[in-house]
């Protein structure tokens, strides 16, 4: 036998729905990380595009397998590279820096050298084949 029901309001409360949805929204906003790719930009020369540069405008930068850097015949610490290059760029603004790395040189040293050259505002950087 069914007795009389006293309580008749059988509705789901919708007033807090917005809050719940907001919480979800904030959760997704916080947890999704948009990881931007960042790094050192470089434009490689096209294949077969070799320009003759007069010898006095070339500054050779050699990296050996132990991470030592030779800039134009003198040994330079990687940390002080940008200072030296900046000075040389003031003397000759047509300077092209040719970076040549030994086959067994580590990529870290190479990136460090490129970073230093970029810090010295050197725009003309050439990558020589290491062989």
């Amino acid at each position: 036998m069914a007795g009389k029901r006293r309580f008749k309001g059988g509705e789901i409360p919708t007033s807090s729905m917005a809050d719940i949805a907001f919480l979800l929204l904030i959760f997704f906003l916080v947890t999704t990380t948009i990881d931007m790719d960042k790094g050192l930009g470089m434009v490689l020369p096209a294949e077969g595009e070799e320009i003759e540069i007069s010898k006095k405008n070339i500054l050779n930068c050699l990296i050996n397998s132990t991470g030592n850097v030779l800039l134009g015949g003198e040994g330079v610490e990687i940390r002080n590279l940008s200072k030296t290059v900046r000075q040389k760029l003031v003397e000759n603004d047509k300077l092209v820096i040719s970076v040549k790395a030994h086959k067994a040189a580590s990529y870290r040293d190479y990136v460090a050298v490129i970073d230093q050259l970029k810090r010295a505002n050197a725009t003309r950087i050439s990558i020589a084949e290491s062989n």
Binding site: L25, G41, A105, Y107
Partner: protein, 136 residues
Amino acid sequence: MKVKRKTQIDSEIPTASMPDIIFMLLIFFMVTTVLREYSGLPISLPKAKRIEKLKSKRHTSHIWVSKEGLISIEDKLYASDGVRHVMYEKRVSDPQLVISLKADERAKMGLISDIHTELRKADALKLNYSSKTAVD
């Protein structure tokens, strides 16, 4: 003298559609955020200071180089002379292509130099050495 209002104006903002609007926002954010599609190789990136952000993700293609000398493009391993074909096809379909080179800091320059040569042959010339921000 006070005049009695005849009709009571209901001046509340309707909140019944509020959850729908917020759900719409939620779905918008869920759809637009792109999760990383592939993971690549385990590497530790070198650190640099003068770094620039890559403009768009759509025109970026990654090359992963591990410290053991493995080259991976979109979860497939390649020998250094196989990079050319993959990159050439990518370059043809997207002229604005930028290559993001994600190489381990302990990778050898011989291999990086080989990749340079391959990219030059594939005419994919815009390169970006992916690196972390260095702190002095």
